[in-house]
Symmetry: C2
Subunit: 241 residues, 2 copies
């Protein structure tokens, strides 16, 4: 069975959190939104979303097809993939802990997005620049250090060492934390230069993920799309403190 | 074992989604934040969040203690409780479907909150009233009907009937959809009066949940806290279209 990822092409976006798990595990998957094959690409996503026969219609991408199962939402997809890709511990207690961390990462991601779209995703950034500036002040002044500090604390309290968030090997939450750091470095380089030194274990984890062979090979490939100003992490210098 | 819910007292808030599941199932639980017992109440929550010995510190309430397990985040707690309280179907495919719906409900809840706090939760509403008005226009003009229409579609496509979102009995996602509708009716009565008739199956589901004996008894009890202007769903007439 080949996993099929449905996500809009052109941005790393939320789809990237799924790609990183699939790439780390080295499994075969099809990135439907980016596939040039007939019937693939954006039309395949729209067709699926608009299919009046679908009994389990996703609200929005990303969603993942795995044989007969369709799973939507980043955290839900990762929870589905975790045991199948060896990216969560065995015991149930730790799995709920990993998923709690993932949901915190998803909240952080949502806040990073809302910095440039505080009034709504359907308005252009240019229509909400003043509001974005005020929201950026709150995000960079309070929230960024709060989230960084939280994950620094989680790492420092891992009884099995501070290399990974949970246990002694990477979970999907570690891959997602890497992506958060990468995105924040892109969007807010000045703020991250100031704040990242306050979270050295987070910083080291991000570098540790980047150095993993499958992740490094993926990021050097054309499968990996760069950040840009259409995505969740956008670099607008005026919002960078 | 008695479940212990940790959530700020004084508002239904995110904790209500957990309470509804526990109440529907009729299990014994302790609402720590509202308990007058020595060592309970807000200090118990703060103590837990600030405990330097905690190896799995939650980012924020709500979190649930069940014996040795601590689970945080609404959707994660409900996923933990679902099988234990008989509030999800047996098969795995449907459980991921229920959880996808729950995460969509959580996104909707976040958007309902951000209507009155578009720039950040740390600023007072009075500091962002103009921005809230603009965000309310987007929420009421686009998002509310999109979410209502989505859940209407999910209900209409349930192959086993439109009484519940999945299968033929209520899941935790149905209870959460009820709470969303109840909160939206409180916060945006004018908008809901206009839009709810476009989603009759959603409306009927909310009434069906409200009529369930355990839910009705809970809502008539002092355990159930009313909506107010400190919570997620706030009634500010100027934001109601």
């Amino acid at each position: 069975m080949r996993y099929e990822l449905y996500y809009w092409p052109g941005i790393p976006g939320r789809g990237e959190f799924i790609r990183l798990a699939l790439e780390e595990a080295g499994v075969d998957y099809l990135d439907i939104g980016r596939s040039p094959a007939p019937g693939h690409g954006v039309p395949a996503i729209s067709t699926y979303l608009d299919d009046p026969e679908a009994s389990q219609p996703p609200f929005a991408p990303p969603f993942l097809k795995a044989g007969d199962i369709v799973v939507s939402h980043v955290a839900n997809i990762l929870q589905f993939l975790g045991p199948r890709l060896g990216l969560v511990p065995e015991d149930e207690c730790r799995r709920f802990w990993v998923q709690g961390l993932q949901l915190t990462l998803c909240d952080w991601l949502g806040e990073a997005h809302d910095v440039h779209h505080p009034l709504g995703a359907s308005l252009y950034y240019e229509e909400q620049k003043d509001e974005a500036k005020r929201r950026a002040d709150v995000f960079l002044g309070e929230r960024l250090s709060k989230f960084l500090g939280y994950f620094e604390q989680v790492l420092s309290r891992n009884p099995e060492g501070s290399d990974w968030l949970v246990g002694t090997s990477p979970t999907y939450a570690d891959l997602s934390l890497f992506q958060m750091v990468a995105g924040l470095r892109y969007a807010f380089p000045r703020a991250m230069q100031r704040l990242e030194p306050t979270a050295p274990a987070v910083s080291a984890l991000a570098d540790r993920v980047a150095a993993r062979p499958n992740i490094a090979a993926y990021r050097a490939s054309k499968r990996c799309q760069p950040f840009n100003e259409q995505g969740i992490f956008r670099h607008y210098p005026e919002l960078d403190g």
